[in-house]
């Protein structure tokens, strides 16, 4: 257990290091960072001085270690576009993205699992067929189009829900304001979280369904039926748990990609999160921001994966190897 945890953490650290290297190379290869920093007027000498001051004349490995060192402390430099420390900007915007991702994630996971189980159990029901077919539409429409259509219908035509922004937010701490405490905050969350969660929802639903059908075909389910175990228990006690095991991993990955996909949703709904900033950063080649964002996403993934592993460990007895099993 501890060994697994340590191995996972080392692995995670490796992943982060690789990502850090990619981020770092962005600085190195994508144009001269100096050019990104000083104006056109700066003289050759000014540039040389700045190079020196920033340590850009040091050997690459040293620069890399400095970069990692800074990154660990949350130092990513100044955003070229916003002219503010990247870490500040991110700290300010992250709560919005996390809130959106969380709500979409909960939506996707709960509905995804629920519908997946339903469609697996009622394989031939018309409602299942309907859900399955419409879910395909869900994965066949680009997210942005879904968002735009939702806005068109629910904001413009029906005027039920706001089309942009987070609504009223409440400042919880200095850097963290939440929309989850106000009605308008919740109203503002509905459309974006549906847009964001829909794709993952369909994906999870289909996965759960497939997995559940697979489990329902296993010998131990057959044997449970042969013992006259009640249908309910077979479905929800025997099959569901086994279904959810492999789903945990995917759900974890999905949760991570929700944060990344927030880029699109945030663009469409003008959601003031980090994704919106990232897409601008790409267009403006705002390297410090890009690299910080990359590391952030990687970190989120790594943490989610760690949690998933632990969860797996907690849920799957087969991983808890005991002394007794060794002596057979």
């Amino acid at each position: 257990m501890i060994a697994m945890l340590i191995r996972r953490i080392i692995q995670a650290a490796m992943v982060m290091l690789v990502v850090a290297f990619i981020s770092f190379s962005l600085f190195q290869f994508v144009g001269d960072p100096i050019n990104n920093m000083v104006g056109q007027e700066a003289s050759q000498q000014d540039r040389a001085e700045l190079r020196d001051r920033l340590g850009l004349n040091d050997p690459i490995p040293i620069q890399f270690f400095r970069f990692v060192g800074n990154a660990v402390q949350g130092e990513f430099g100044i955003s070229y576009r916003m002219a503010r420390p990247v870490s500040d900007v991110i700290a300010e915007r992250l709560p919005a993205t996390l809130e959106l991702a969380l709500v979409s994630g909960v939506l996707a996971i709960s509905l995804g699992i629920g519908l997946g189980v339903y469609t697996a159990l009622r394989r031939d029901g018309w409602l299942s067929h309907f859900i399955m077919s419409s879910s395909l539409i869900g994965v066949s429409l680009p997210t942005f189009l879904i968002g735009i259509l939702l806005i068109y219908v629910f904001s413009v035509e029906l005027q039920w829900l706001p089309s942009f922004g987070r609504g009223e937010t409440v400042q919880v701490t200095e850097n963290w304001s939440t929309g989850l405490l106000t009605l308008s905050g919740w109203k503002s969350l509905i459309l974006p979280s549906i847009t964001l969660g829909l794709f993952q929802l369909t994906l999870l639903m289909r996965l759960v369904r497939a997995e559940m059908l697979e489990v329902l075909r296993t010998d131990y389910i057959k044997f449970a039926r042969a013992r006259g175990i009640k249908q309910r228990s077979i479905h929800f006690r025997h099959a569901l748990k086994n279904t959810l095991l492999p789903v945990i991993t995917i759900a974890g990955l999905q949760l991570g990609s929700i944060i990344a996909f927030a880029i699109i949703t945030e663009t469409v709904f003008q959601w003031p999160g980090v994704g919106l900033l990232f897409i601008n950063a790409i267009r403006f080649v705002d390297i410090p921001f890009m690299s910080a964002y990359l590391l952030l996403i990687a970190l989120v993934f790594v943490i989610i994966n760690l949690i998933v592993d632990l969860l797996y460990f907690a849920v799957d007895p087969r991983l808890r190897v005991t002394k007794r099993s060794a002596s057979r």
């Binding site: 920093m37 000083v38 104006g39 056109q40 100044i78 955003s79 576009r81 916003m82 002219a83 503010r84 420390p85 500040d88 300010e92 735009i148 806005i151 068109y152 904001s155 413009v156 005027q159 706001p162 089309s163 942009f164 922004g165 987070r166 304001s177 663009t267 469409v268 709904f269 003008q270 003031p272 919106l276 900033l277 267009r283 403006f284 080649v285």
Partner: protein, 503 residues
Amino acid sequence: QTLRWASAGDSLTFDPHSQNHGQTHAVAHQIYNPLIYLDLDSEMQPGLAVSWSVTENPNVWEFKLREGVHFHDGTPFTSEDVVFSFQRAQHPNSDMRTLISSVVDVRAVDPLTVHIETNGPTPLLPNNLTNLFIMSKAWSEANNVVTPQDYSSGEENFAVRNANGTGPFRLISRDPDVRTEMVRNDEYWGVGQFPMEISRIVLTPIQSAATRAAAMLSGEVDFLQDVPVQDINRLSNSSNIKMLSAPENRTIFFGMDQGREELRTSNIKGKNPFADQRVREAMNIAINRNAIQQVVMRNQSVPAGMIAPSFVNGWTSELDSVPETNINRAKELLAEAGYADGFNVTLTCTNDRYVNDEAICQAVTGMLGQAGINVRLDARANSIHFAELQQGELDFYILGWAVPPLDSHYVFDFLLETKTPNTGAWNFTGWSNEEFDSLSRSLPTETDLNERNAKIARAWEIVQSDTVYLPIHHQVLNWAVRSDIDFAVQSQNQPMLKYLSFK
């Protein structure tokens, strides 16, 4: 009454001297006051100065200041604050310093009088002061912001998110790019003079055009500044929304590098097709400006013949008349110039700066194509566009120009004078004309207005006959407001919300 105000971009900073940027000033006008400002009709109005005139010394302007004005924090406004603000704006960190580069000294004569000395007679000095905001010296010193924010290095000082002005509203919360909140300043010197019906302003930037329109349509916004032209119809059809429009102080045009030996992106080697006036003329008449106006701009533009809108000194309807579109003639001209088979060139264009910029470029690409010039379009973000443009790397580019001083000299100075370190800062065409240069350079110190206007007219003549630029149109500003709001468009795109009233 709360006003929910949305625009495409946000103010970059609340430090009033850090950036010379339209939306930044537009927001700052609600909080800070300059000495003189432009009202809804673009007329100069007394702000913190009640009167201004040139003293006997033609190099010195005298400004009489308003009495009894207090900053938001309660400190009284005096001439010391003006002197301080001018000095602050002249700091190297300040982006405003070019506007007052002619100023050599600012003196407080008495608490309500300021003398400004320039390095020569500067008849247009007041025009340059309409966005120069006055800060409180005491507040700045107390909060350690006596120098402006160094924007490009990412400095963040106290003034960036806090403001202490003399304006009609005070800043109460600031979340950059997300939300800015202001409340009415009941101590404002103009209370009673202006409607001042808004008690609270919530400003939200919305980048995406469709979302912006949707927000207005769904009633989540009361006042929309950057209305997407394509949505004007839809918005004006809505009973809850009123469209306000007026010609904007901005002209869109194309520039061509005519000074180089050889273009970078052309198949023609050894010579530069743009150097030939006939080619430029051919391009000029190949472009169907009316079509662009009707289709691309949906009538929200005024086809242009010159780079200056009607309210600029030096504008005439003849100069601004649009050349007849004539593809055949264009082909002939090209043939005469030796390009019967046309040539290739890349047009570099922004896609996020001007109204429908990319669509305009696409349209022009097609039109020039019909005349035989094979244009390849490269559209990109304005930050990249301007960076490359300023490095003089573009053969054929789009640019928009506003004339805040409302005088042709501003256009000449930046766009047309021969490029030297001090002149022709935005002249990337390589065009240079001695007569023009001397005419233009004599303008600032020409005090005889008739003579001056004659010179301007002559200078325009030279420019037009040489087809230096290809003007396309003057933009039209469109604001949308809730139908119960009474307001008018200001050509500088600076909504002075103190004028706004509700029905």
